[in-house]
């Protein structure tokens, strides 16, 4: 890499961190329980808006994996999400009524909280509808994985987004608070993923799955990115660039093997396609606060009104991480 290129990337990273600092001005502290964070705790960082129904299962899921503390930015919820979170003993909460879009879709807020509280911890940055599945997650807590990664000298762990959907119209089965969303959205596309290298940041760019097959079939280039690096041993100089798709410094994006071997990786099960999407879609279309002029949401809206199903005869029903490994969606690498 040329010196010029290095300087350019460093400039980009510093601009990202400065921007995070500037955008953090809109964050208002609601409750700070970060004094409860112990030195080896794994921390979860989340931005959310109106997710009160999803929160109970979400928090319990990650508590069961052994997460120590949740640091959450509430983007002006009016459904009681903030009130619910204030009562949780392992949650620190900030709120912002500023624009989600202006804060790089929440990345700036999260980068700032990561900068303040992340260094020296393994951090997991997810949305409320993303559930991490990693090798041996049914028998080993998350700290087993992070201990191993640390011993291997690997600071980042890849977990691509896997869109889950129900059989039949998306809105046919109502989701109740506290329920496991994958009782409803149990299906996924096993092998239609398209991968390219992004030479600038050296990450892989993955598109595909049901959103490519069913929604973007005529405009595949616009299909959303599914590559994610949500689990990182944080240092103050790090910054997420675009959602959790990639990081700077770019060495963190080298989560894949190029000589034929497999590195360990996981999957983020994405419980987006539940009946809750109906309200979200309408709201987002009104607000226009999502990526690429909310193009994705307009497509959902059309689809939901037709009562289409995402399901096809080659959809696969979710069983466990071993199944995802056999399908080649994730790998245990040499973590035995």
């Amino acid at each position: 890499m040329s010196v010029l290129k290095q300087l350019k990337l460093r400039g980009k990273r510093q601009a990202k961190l400065l921007r995070a600092l500037r955008k953090s001005m809109s964050l208002r502290l609601r409750i700070n329980r970060t004094d409860l964070i112990r030195p080896r705790d794994i921390l979860v960082f989340v931005t959310l808006r109106n997710e009160v129904a999803r929160l109970p299962f979400f928090l319990d899921y990650y508590r069961a994996l052994g997460v120590g503390h949740f640091l959450i930015v509430d983007n002006a919820s009016d459904d009681g999400s903030a009130e619910y979170l204030l009562e949780q003993r392992d949650v620190s909460l900030w709120s912002s009524s500023a624009s989600y879009k202006d804060a790089s879709f929440g990345v700036d807020w999260i980068n700032h909280l990561l900068w303040r509280f992340g260094p020296g911890h393994w951090v997991l940055v997810v949305d409320v509808d993303e559930f991490l599945v990693y090798p041996f997650c049914d028998t080993r807590p998350l700290s087993a994985l992070t201990d191993w990664l640390e011993a291997q000298g690997r600071p980042a762990f890849s977990a691509m987004l896997l869109d889950m959907y129900p059989k039949g119209p998306v809105t046919a089965q109502p989701y109740c608070a506290g329920q496991d969303p994958f009782e409803i959205a149990r299906w996924f596309d096993p092998t239609n993923y398209i991968i390219r290298r992004n030479s600038e940041l050296q990450n892989l760019w993955i598109q595909g799955g049901v959103r490519l097959r069913a929604i973007m079939r005529d405009t595949p280039a616009q299909a959303p990115a599914l590559n994610k690096i949500p689990l990182v041993f944080w240092a103050r100089k790090y910054a997420y660039v675009s959602s959790t798709h990639m990081l700077l410094p770019r060495g963190l994006n080298r989560v894949f093997d190029e000589s034929g071997g497999e590195q360990a990786s996981g999957v983020l099960l994405h419980a987006k396609f539940l009946d809750t999407i109906l309200g979200k879609t309408e709201e987002e279309l009104r607000r226009g606060e999502h990526y690429a002029q909310s193009r994705e949401y307009r497509a959902y809206d059309a689809m939901l009104h037709r009562k289409d199903s995402f399901w096809c005869e080659w959809s696969t029903e979710y069983i466990n991480w071993r199944q995802l490994e056999i399908l080649g969606l994730m790998s245990k690498g040499d973590w035995a």
Binding site: R196, R217, D257, G260, E262, A264, W314, S331, G333
Partner: protein
């Protein structure tokens, strides 16, 4: 001096080197003490005093427990050997009943009751269990230096001062530094964890030349894998070169950790100890320290199964699964000659010569044969399916967005079933895809060149664009041929001219489907009929008059 007051003990003493997870160490110490085995605990000097005091308090006053003089034990440093020497000397001095000394680490876990171990040791009381392999047999080493460990100086720490370490090695190689091994030592290597007899260990510790040897070993690399292993060869009566401690190393030479879900594996080990145990593996500690196996049916030892388990993991990291392209495996173009998940056949021009080619091939092979997967309008999956295995869509836009990944996805999703499809100049051809297939060992490409003209002939089209279309198709075919004929092509490639294929159709087809369809099936279904060529000669003659390029005319003359 204190021989009279020394507490009676079991004949096995244990030295434990620890630096972390002290609560687990305490549990293991209590396990040994409960069996009257004396323990000398070496706590790394880097451990904070408060933690040490907490450990002492947790263990309480124990007549069979001593704390060894503390050293700083960096990975691969002399400190590990010094700590072992001092602690072992303390053990031998303070506990005269001890006939064997077991060296373990704080993350080792006993797998069997002490009585079993004592029985094994007493059955052959003079044997030292220490892995000790002559350095000349280099296989023992997993990555890293071999003989040079003993002939160079190593003033820098490999883990913390890697750059300086590498430079120092380079410099010494250039200067041809060659330290001499002190006589009469013969360098041996082996796992750090051993079980020595009092006689052997005492002789090593009291060797009059010990200061001389020490000066030498202090500057070798990873002396804890060499010092006792070499000196035991000098003093032991009988060595059994294996460790009683199960350790499985990964590709970087680090020990794999054992977790709760390894319980069934560890029960099948023949070893007495295992390392490293993940400190949070509560179930393992509970199971083995409390001998829960006593209440269960015995399990026959199957050490090969443990080896295989870790070998599979190492292979997955090193080689991965052929043909898999995913988030954490994305091999470069040239990383391997097998680039796809399974064998596949590509037929170029066959459907223009043979009537109902796809159907016939499906009949004789029993496979689900596709049409033109890269047809411009949509993917022609078998039976006109709209989605195929893996939830692959028939949408042309998605396929054309990344034609190569469309193929690798299909091959991965259908692994176990050979894929057969037609391909030709009328398809959405892709340069990257063409190169991929030509350089893939799994591909079998069978071509009949010039057959594209039959399709244009049958389209009934006339007029000036006809020659343009033919020329264009011919150009694409020539480009594809150039790739197949390049010196990088490793696929199984058969190329036939149109005249040759029409002259000996069964021979050409037979070669293309060799191994795909067997003879009995062919006997049942026969050969496919040839499609009509009436008027093709006149068609070519007519084109020649209109100015068909000579090369093309030659290819099309039957």
């Amino acid at each position: 001096m204190s021989a009279q007051r020394a507490p009676a003990s079991a004949p096995l003493g244990v030295v434990i080197l620890c630096h972390t997870a002290l609560h687990r160490v305490a549990a293991v110490v209590r396990f040994w003490l409960a069996a009257s085995c004396p323990v000398v605990l070496h706590v790394d000097r880097a451990v904070p005093e408060a933690d040490l005091q907490a450990l002492r308090a947790e263990l309480g006053a124990q007549p069979l427990l001593r704390f060894g003089p503390r050293h700083r034990c960096d990975w691969g440093s002399w400190g590990l050997v010094a700590a072992t020497q001092d602690s072992a000397a303390l053990l031998l001095d303070d506990f005269p009943d001890v006939t064997h000394v077991l060296l373990t680490s704080g993350s080792c876990l006993p797998l069997r009751p002490v009585a079993e171990m004592l029985a094994t040791l007493q059955a052959r009381p003079c044997v030292d269990f220490i892995e000790s392999v002559p350095v000349a047999h280099g296989e023992w080493i997993l990555g890293g230096l071999g003989e040079e460990r003993f002939t160079l100086y190593f003033p820098f720490n490999w883990r913390r001062q890697r750059w300086l370490f590498d430079r120092a090695v380079e410099l010494q190689r250039r200067l041809r530094v060659a330290r001499r091994v002190p006589r009469p030592l013969v360098p041996h290597l082996g796992a750090q964890w051993w079980c020595l007899t009092r006689a052997t260990l005492g002789a090593i510790l009291k060797d009059p030349a010990r200061p001389h040897y020490e000066r030498y070993f202090r500057r070798t690399w990873i002396p804890d894998e060499a010092y006792f292993q070499t000196l035991a060869r000098l003093h032991a009566a009988e060595i059994e070169s294996r460790s009683l401690t199960l350790v499985k190393f990964d590709r970087n030479g680090r020990p794999n950790l054992f977790y709760d879900d390894h319980l069934h594996l560890l029960r099948r080990s023949e070893c007495f100890m295992a390392r490293k145990i993940w400190p949070e593996a509560a179930q393992l500690y509970d199971f083995f320290l409390n001998n829960r196996a006593a209440k269960l049916d015995p399990v026959p030892p199957e050490p090969a199964r443990i080896d295989r388990y870790f070998e599979l993991a190492a292979a997955q990291r090193r080689d991965g699964r052929a043909g898999l392209y995913m988030q954490s495996r994305f091999p470069r173009e040239d990383a391997s000659r097998v680039k796809s998940a399974g064998p596949y056949s590509v037929f170029w021009g066959f459907d223009q010569i043979f009537a109902d080619f796809d159907y016939w091939l499906g009949q004789v092979s029993g496979l689900r044969v596709h049409g033109h997967l890269y047809a411009p309008e949509r993917v022609q999956f078998h039976g006109g399916a709209k989605v195929w295995h893996g939830a692959l869509s028939d949408a042309a836009a998605i396929r054309d967005y990344h034609p190569r990944m469309f193929l690798t996805n299909l091959l991965w999703a259908t692994r176990g079933e050979r894929q057969c499809f037609s391909y030709g100049p009328s398809d959405h051809m892709d340069h990257e895809l063409d190169w991929f297939m030509a350089t893939d060992m799994n591909a079998r490409l069978s071509m009949i060149t010039g057959a594209f003209a039959l399709s244009i002939f049958r389209s009934g089209q006339t007029g000036p664009e006809l020659i343009a279309r033919l020329t264009e198709a011919h150009k694409r075919e020539q480009e594809f041929l150039a790739i197949l004929r390049s010196r990088w092509a490793v696929a199984e490639i058969r190329i036939h001219g149109l005249a040759e294929a029409l002259g000996a159709p069964q021979q050409v087809l037979g070669g293309a489907i060799e191994g795909v369809a067997d003879a009995p099936a062919r006997a049942i279904h026969g050969w496919p009929a040839l499609r009509s060529l009436d008027g093709f000669d006149a068609f070519v003659a007519g084109l020649s008059k209109q100015g068909l390029p000579p090369q093309l005319r030659k290819d099309l003359t039957l």
